[in-house]
């Protein structure tokens, strides 16, 4: 077993960042290549063979461009916002189990035990686990899923700060939309994972993978939860069809309007890192993480085993990233009230019902496949309900229109010619 000391920690952190940062760069290239493929174009092909050096050129451009700071902005928060956005997105990678070398120990029981005994027991089990290399930056973190969600909700701060400090109506509207959107979609996101947690009995991501390794992937038993999770995650990442905070045709750039150069680059980096993190989360929570039909057990050497697991994980993640790109270039975006309607009228009731189904199955120790049937059934029932009783879009004008005579041109509204 490899000891996990400070030096290893630093190497792993450096390794993860060194891998993720270029991945973000190449994700932007992939986005452009996929969009070109979808749209019958060639895509970037000037810099390097097949445009492979394009991310370098883009990165260089971000560094070399002048960073304009408009005079009307709140300088501190204006500069803080991109940093917050990027840092939070990167920190969430700390709990991702890239490829464990040993199963995590069970949580330490604390009730009815002397505090000293707890400490001792912790040192024996968790401590030992934390001291060995497990292909994760923070090993043995029993609240792994919660940490990811907590950091995910913090990400809204970057957006809010950026939008507010820009002192621009478009930015402010964008950031307000974003905060409402992220808060709304946190609920179905959390709710769909609760079903998973009820089965696995642990918040530890490594523990969730271990459960799936033994019993089968969660996507088999809770397909609806996975669907809800995926949709919520798209909203969390501000990706189409949920990219309202930066809806170009409505709000110019949303909260990004006033940003340029590296500040903008950091926002972009944060956004794409968020995509990677959430794809990893989808893989780990619903698609068995690094497990693949026992393939990962063929390699017994711990180091090579970790490498194989890491490759499996990365392949699955890559699939979800590709899905992200494909969805973006296929469907248009929602309007804000439709977005909220989807969260509150469709996804939250569905996730509650699904959670209820999970509880019933757990309570009466039914087969997991019963849950699969319920999950699919709920989805179909929702579809049938929508077709049978749906009223269509509510697009009627929403507001009483001012009946007073409009001011003549040149007065009041800042029209030229006054």
């Amino acid at each position: 077993m490899i000891a996990f000391d400070w030096l290893t920690l630093l190497i792993v952190i450096a390794g993860v960042i060194a891998v993720v940062m270029p991945t973000v760069g190449y994700l932007t290239l992939a986005e452009r290549k996929v969009s070109a493929w979808v749209q019958d174009r060639l895509g970037p092909n000037r810099v390097g063979p097949f445009g492979l050096l394009q991310p370098l050129a883009d990165g260089g451009k971000f560094f070399l461009k002048e960073a304009p700071i408009p005079r009307h902005v709140d300088k501190i928060f204006f500069l803080l916002a991109p940093a917050v956005s990027m840092a939070i997105a990167l920190v969430a990678l700390a709990v991702v189990p890239w490829g464990g070398t040993q199963p995590p120990p069970d949580p330490v029981a604390t009730q009815g035990v002397e505090p000293a005994a707890v400490v001792q027991q912790y040192a024996d089990t968790q401590g030992g686990y934390a001291k060995s290399f497990n292909g994760v930056i923070v090993p043995g973190l029993d609240v792994g899923v919660l940490v990811v969600f907590a950091l995910g909700s913090l990400a809204v701060y970057g957006v809010i700060l950026g939008g507010w400090s820009s002192d621009n109506k478009y930015s402010l509207l964008g950031s307000l939309r974003s905060s409402a959107q992220i808060i709304s979609y946190e609920i179905p996101l959390g709710m769909s994972v609760v079903g998973v947690l009820l089965f696995s009995g642990t918040l530890n991501l490594e523990g969730i993978i271990q459960w799936q390794k033994q019993h089968g992937w969660f996507v088999l038993f809770q397909p609806l939860a996975f669907l809800l999770f995926m949709v919520s995650v798209y909203a969390e990442c501000n990706r189409l069809p949920f990219d309202l905070p930066e809806a170009e045709q409505e709000l110019v750039g949303g909260y990004l309007t006033e940003y340029g150069s590296l500040n903008f680059g950091m926002f972009m980096l944060g956004e794409y890192t968020h995509m990677i993190t959430t794809s990893l989360l989808m893989t780990v929570v619903f698609w068995g993480g690094w497990s693949l039909f026992g393939l990962e057990d063929r390699v017994t050497d711990p180091i090579w085993g970790a490498v194989v697991k890491c490759l499996i994980l990365v392949t699955k993640t890559g699939f979800f990233l590709f899905l992200y790109l494909l969805v973006r270039w296929t469907i248009p975006r929602f309007r804000f009230d439709q977005l909220m309607g989807l969260a509150w009228k469709v996804m939250i009731p569905l996730s509650l019902l699904h959670l209820l189904a999970v509880m019933l199955v757990r309570q009466y120790s039914l087969s997991n496949w019963v849950l699969t049937a319920i999950s699919v059934g709920l989805f179909l029932a929702a579809g049938v309900y929508a077709v049978a009783f749906g009223t269509g879009p509510n697009n009627a004008p929403r507001r009483r229109v001012i009946s007073s005579p409009s001011p003549p041109v040149g007065e009041g509204l800042g029209v030229r010619g006054s």
Binding site: E248, Q249, T330, I331, R333, F334, R335, D337, G392, R398
Partner: protein, 408 residues
């Protein structure tokens, strides 16, 4: 110093207390050209939308008074840069009506095909842009692929891709080659495939439909009252199409090959569907016309003293030589009757008319344009009230406002 005690201000918390103004444009991604909208908002809901035009004013009509009837073609091109050929042909309709000129059958067919290509090109952009404004870039680029094909045809006909300046009084700049006919023939099936692609991508897309259904509803009465024309009017149930009602060019021969597409919806979805339908109908016109192009000269006879005679006529006949000479002397040229005419065509956006006042000289005394966009843009405040900011691009895209036409 004693404090001045003031009465509390009267409660004037009206709408104006919490409404705010948002400048939408003139530089904005959704106003594809330089439009400005002054939106009064309550949250994200639009209370009042006030269009402000004039950011692209180029004095086109004034220029028309200083250029002769052929020279003004280049300027007319720039009024609607989405479908310039349709503008040229509409301008010539007015001019030839003024001169009482009957163009050759071949020229009629060529102009019809080119006008229909321009209509398709315009509708492709409008449909693509309405998808783009809702976040669907892919349909936009599918549309632009086909626009490239149309540009190729126009280029091989006129030598220019974007602003061809191809039409002349009494004919065309030059006759087309067989190459153009082949390209048009090849374009028909290719376009139908792309048309089906766009329809498959958008027609049943739940998000797309939810965004445009019931947004910006224009009633039939309102459409008539505000003299709305073109696809916008037809989407509101006003079945008027100059190609059917007052056929011009080769349309009398082609009446059987197309139908007028109309809808009762009046919303953005209806306008989108009408445009999609019109493209299919235009394709039928082109397919029918391209097989029936009559032979013969493309320009009117030399005797008309209108069009420039070709080389043979210039060098081999005295009439040709004299006419060539006269047309190229800036103070000779042709004379026009002293008259006022209005000539209009059904272009992609609606009825594009030109009101020409001639004073007998070689230049129009007044060259007034009736641009469809100008009239459609005046609808915008009415269509927008009570909707959301997000609906602004949807409605703007469905009206297909061309700013150069507003501020001509």
């Amino acid at each position: 110093m004693p404090l001045d005690l003031l009465d509390p201000p009267a409660d004037t918390s009206t709408d104006s207390e919490y409404l705010y103004t948002l400048n939408f444009g003139p530089q904005h991604p959704a106003t594809h050209t330089t439009l400005r909208l002054i939106l009064t908002l309550d949250g994200e809901t639009i209370v009042k939308a006030q269009p402000d035009i004039g950011y692209l004013h180029s004095g086109f009509e004034k220029l028309g008074e200083d250029l002769d009837y052929n020279q003004y073609v280049t300027v007319v091109d720039r009024m609607n840069y989405i479908s310039p050929l349709a503008n040229e042909i509409a301008w010539m309709t007015a001019v030839e009506k003024l001169l009482g000129l009957e163009i050759t059958p071949r020229c009629k067919y060529l102009r019809t095909i080119l006008a229909e290509l321009a209509r398709i090109s315009d509708h492709l952009l409008a449909v693509g842009a309405s998808a783009l404004d809702l976040g669907g870039l892919t349909a936009f680029l599918y549309a632009f692929n086909e626009r490239e094909g149309i540009y190729d045809i126009i280029e091989s006909a006129s030598g220019q891709r974007f602003h061809p300046s191809y039409v002349r009084v009494g004919g065309m700049m030059n006759d087309i080659t067989d190459d153009v006919v082949d390209k048009v023939r090849a374009f028909v099936p290719k376009f139908q495939k792309a048309h089906a692609d766009i329809a498959r991508l958008l027609n049943r897309n739940k998000i797309f439909l939810d965004r445009i259904q019931g947004v910006g509803v224009l009633s039939r009465e309102e459409a008539i009252n505000r003299s709305v024309t073109g696809p916008v009017a037809r989407a509101s149930g006003v079945v008027r199409d100059l190609r059917k009602d007052e056929p011009y060019l080769a349309y009398p021969d082609l009446q059987d090959s197309f139908k007028v597409v109309a809808s009762k919806g009046g919303d953005c979805l209806a306008r989108y569907l009408v445009r999609m339908g019109e493209m299919a109908e235009s394709m039928k016109i082109i397919a029918a016309a391209v097989e029936n192009i009559p032979s013969g000269p493309v320009n009117v006879d030399v005797e008309g003293k209108i069009s420039i005679p070709d080389k043979t006529a210039t060098y081999r006949s005295i009439e040709g030589l004299i006419q060539h000479f006269e047309l190229f002397m800036w103070n000779r040229r042709w004379e026009t009757p002293v008259n006022e005419v209005y000539g209009a065509n059904e272009t992609a956006n609606g009825e594009l008319g030109f009101y020409v006042v001639a004073d007998g000289s070689g230049k129009p005394w007044r060259a007034r344009t009736r641009p469809p966009s100008f009239i459609h843009f005046s609808l915008f405040p009415m269509l927008m009230e009570g909707h959301q900011i997000s609906d602004v691009p949807a409605v703007l895209g469905s009206l297909n406002i061309i700013a150069a036409e507003l501020d001509r």
